[in-house]
């Protein structure tokens, strides 16, 4: 589905990614773990064209998308739910959802159906549909960001630290939602997480990033048992 071949990305003169390769296949959940500053978000941003990798190529459904503009990449069907939610604070919940479908030419009817679908997954959003997104709680904003991402019926969705700043109870719900999106809508998911245990638990494969390089990758079950991963990311 998506293949990243040996990309290197720079911020000015600082190199943030070194020769990173990464792949996700149909219907997979792949997780990416790593410490702060390891380059996880930079990898996502490189895929989305928010930063341009200097070397390497990115291929989506057998077509190269390396130097496309972000909006074109979104039109191809990749959605990125960024770190820190980034909802539109001065737009209502419902308008935020509507903007999630910007890349699609939905009729009014399909649009409302789609929004109702989101309200079924997140009933909390329905109660607050007229409320400005900036006044939602952190957890509600995260729900909104996820729902907004689903609005365009993406072919691939990438979540960047969806559990950040959420209460433990809500974190569990969040992962459950992510798994059900994958199972029910058959959307492949890239999951960037600090919460390595949960990430490994729900993903089939995992990449470990360190200092902008892929340190390890493999089946999540196996990585879970690896002494290196255990000591560095699972707290012993």
């Amino acid at each position: 589905m998506l293949k990243v071949n040996n990309i290197s990305t720079y911020y000015g003169k600082v190199q943030a990614l070194h020769n990173v390769s990464f792949e996700i296949k149909d219907e997979e959940i792949v997780s990416i773990i790593g410490a702060n500053g390891a380059g996880k978000s930079t990898l996502m941003r490189s895929i989305m064209g928010l930063v341009q990798p200097k070397e390497g190529e990115i291929v989506f459904k057998d077509e190269e998308i390396t130097n496309l503009k972000t909006n074109k990449i979104v039109e191809r069907g990749i959605v990125y739910v960024p770190e820190g939610r980034e909802v539109f604070p001065a737009l209502s919940v419902e308008d935020n959802l509507e903007m999630g479908a910007f890349s699609k030419k939905y009729s009014q009817r399909i649009l409302s159906n789609k929004i109702e679908e989101m309200y079924d997954i997140f009933p909390r959003l329905k109660e607050r549909k007229k409320q400005l997104a900036g006044t939602l709680s952190g957890g509600e904003q995260q729900m909104l960001a996820i729902a907004r991402g689903l609005m365009s019926s993406p072919e691939l969705i990438m979540f960047d630290e969806p559990s950040l700043g959420l209460a433990p109870v809500i974190v569990d719900d969040m992962f459950e939602v992510i798994v059900s999106i994958n199972r029910q809508q058959h959307i492949p998911i890239v999951l960037v997480e600090q919460n390595a245990f949960e990430a490994l638990r729900i993903s089939s494969r995992c990449y470990v990033l360190e200092n902008g390089e892929v340190r390890m990758h493999g089946l999540s079950d196996e990585l879970m048992k690896s002494p290196e991963v255990k000591s560095a990311y699972l707290g012993g």
């Binding site: 503009k69 972000t70 980034e86 539109f88 604070p89 509507e98 903007m99 400005l132 365009s152």
Partner: protein, 302 residues
Amino acid sequence: MSIVRVTKEVVFLYKIILQLLVSGIAMGFVYGLVGIEYTLIWNSTGLLNFSHERIIMLGAYIFAGSFVLQTGLSVLPAIVATIIAIIFFAVFVAYTIFIPLRNMSALCAIMSTVMLGNIINESVRLYYGPEAITVKGFLTGMIRIGTLVVARAYVVIIFVALIILALLLLFMMKTKTGKAMRCVAQNKNASSLMGIDVQKNMMITIAISFSICSIIGLLVIPLYSVKQSMASMISLKGFAAGVIGGFGSLPGAIVGGLFIGIIENIAGMIFPSTFKDVVAFVCLILMLLLRPSGILGKKRIS
């Protein structure tokens, strides 16, 4: 002293106040439109368009100099042609100056829009000549509303301003592009992740802003005639209107504009009329001291 005479004086005073109110509201809308025109660009690109005074003036010159005098179009087609010409100009300037500029230092960006203004100013002088142009009969004369007699220009200004505001509101709240414009103003990163072409959206915003500039230029022709300095006062007061109303807020710009327009006209009754222009700027400084966030300004949700 007869009661009749007193009543007559009261009625006379009342009429004067009404007239001042009408001209105050009209000028208020002019300042408000200026406030809106630069706020649109500020919200979208983060740039202060210091060339807006020249764009207002350019609109008036294209209309009067090129389309009415040279081409001999009648008023309505000339207005349409002017707006189209300005939109082409806006698209060009957007892609060559405004969009590349927004990632540069603030100082660099400010200087460039100031320079753009100077280029327009000099080009206009070279092309149209230094003399003022008048458009005979354009928005001149008086209109009688009941017992009130007011300049036709003021009535047209109020009417056109209301139409522009209504259209802008509809556009921004109801259309996909308009909603995208609000998104771009709030978060560019997230906007592009929705699939919005942020640069194109900025270009559209700049085109709308420049169109409003050109319409302002047309509306004030009967007040200042077509000359290079025609927009200097209104662009400055329009800027003040935006600050007084709450920087970055579109409704704020209108409220601020009306506030200045009405105050300065009423003040003109009390102080000598030469003090009129001072009033707007005294208001601005008082506002900055007392309520820096402006009338409608609030801490922006981030």
